[in-house]
Amino acid sequence: MLEVRELSIAYGGAPAVWDVSLDVGAGELVAVIGPNGAGKSTLVNTIAGLHRPRAGVIRCAGVELGALPSHRVCRHGIALVPEGRRLFTRMTVEENLEIGCYRDEARAERAAGLERVYGLFPILRERRRQLAGSLSGGQQQMVAIGRAMMARPRLLLLDEPSLGLAPAVVDAMFAIIRAIHDEGVAILLVEQNVIRALDIANRAYVLEEGRIVAGGAPDALRRESRIREAYLGVAN
């Protein structure tokens, strides 16, 4: 589904990424974990076409994405839930969702898409005429995920979906992520909450200082002291 090879990204003051290679198979849920500032957001934003890579290859279903203008990337079945949600705060909930299905193929299925999102997040149906900026953090995260789902993605890029949410809301959010995954959507999940991410993922990579330092099955990674070291600086 997604193939990233020797990708290097550097721009402005954002954390850089060096020589990263990773794969997401069709219908797979892959987590990228690592401490803040490791370059996780830089990585997913670049896959979504927000930045140009400095070197390397991003391929989705065989199509090379790195050179496309950003508004073309989504045609290849990629949708982004960005860090910090980045909703269109002065537009209503429903309008935000409609931007999600902006590209032609998705637009045709607008009604079905809305039903699906409102099915996942019933509260959004009630709030659909409200300005997105006036929602609570958890509801905003729902809109951000819903907006990406409206694009009918084959690969969903989720950047820190639990950031700044209350624990109960985080539980609900992970249940939803699992449900989306069960529908057959491949997911690349960037998450600071290591335990949650490893619980849900099929595979995971550890990103540290812009490089992938470990990867593999969650159980194996959970035992690795490397993760604790990356996060807390101390192994036991």
Binding site: L50, F88, Y102
Partner: protein, 283 residues
């Protein structure tokens, strides 16, 4: 204290004049609010439209309404050309003010070159047509201008509110990168909006030709009033621009009736200054 009739007349004239302010503000508000370009040349375009309407009417005896059918699409193209220039040189919100200031002066010179600095009056049979609403005179042309402004403002509002292109424009105004990630091609939409904004200037020009006495320096006369309208109405908000136009128009005409005509500019400029200082976050 002026009589009730005089006040009533002032309110009606103000409302009608305000419609024209709203029409002029419409294009400016769209390009500022949704493209972050401050277009001082907007007024010059409107006045150019007025002079061209005048020229087509006096030299070729073309009805102003036929002239509008020619001019409005031509201005649409002009707007696109201007935006291509801005996009090519990556004009920012701030440099747009300087560049369009220069363009406005060029257009003013062009107008003065062809039509001189003399006052021009386009005499048409519509100019004097009016009806009486109780004791108050309602000039037909102004009423028509006002209704056109209202129609365009509402249509633009609906376009931004209900179509995919409109929504994409609003989304990209807030976060172009994320809008782009969902497939919004902001550069194409920006061209469309710039064309539309210039077309509105052309439409306003038609009415200016019919209603006002023309002089090249009028470019600057509109400036303060219309900027006040744009900012009061809220950037990128077409209905807001219309309502703010009514508000400013009425406050001006009441000042004229109650105090003195020459003091009228003070009202709109003071409102503009007050807003900038006390509510700058609206911009």
């Amino acid at each position: 204290m002026p009589s009730a009739t005089l006040l009533g007349q002032a309110v009606v004239s103000g409302l009608l004049a305000g419609g024209l302010y709203g029409l002029l503000a419409l294009g400016l508000s769209l390009s500022w609010g949704l493209l972050r370009l401050v277009n001082l040349a907007h007024f010059a375009l409107a006045l150019l439209g007025a002079y061209l309407t005048y020229q087509l009417g006096t030299a070729l005896h073309l009805s102003p309404w036929v002239a509008a059918i020619v001019l409005v699409p031509a201005f649409f193209g002009l707007g696109i050309a201007l935006h291509l220039l801005f996009a090519r040189f990556r004009v920012t919100e701030f440099t747009s003010l300087l560049v369009t200031f220069g363009i406005a002066v060029i257009l003013e010179s062009v107008i003065q070159w062809f039509w001189t600095a003399d006052y021009r009056r386009y005499e048409t049979p519509y100019a004097s047509a009016s009806f009486k609403l109780g004791p108050v005179f309602v000039p037909l042309l102004e009423l028509f201008a006002c209704l056109t402004a209202a129609t365009l403002a509402l249509a633009t509002w609906a376009w931004l509110r209900f179509t995919y292109v409109g929504k994409a424009l609003r989304a990209a105004a807030e976060d172009p990168a994320i809008a782009g990630a969902f497939g919004v091609d902001h550069r194409r939409h920006a061209l469309l909006l710039s064309g539309l904004s210039a077309a509105y200037a052309g439409a306003a020009g038609t009415f200016i030709a019919l209603i006002a006495t023309l002089a090249p320096s009028q470019i600057w006369a509109w400036l303060g009033v219309v900027f006040a309208v744009v900012i009061i109405g809220g950037l990128g908000n077409p209905v807001g621009a219309l309502l703010a136009g009514f508000l400013i128009g009425m406050s001006e005409s009441i000042t004229m009736a109650v105090v003195a005509p020459a003091w009228a500019p003070l009202v709109s400029f003071s409102i503009l200054i007050g807003l900038l200082i006390f509510r700058p976050e609206r911009v």
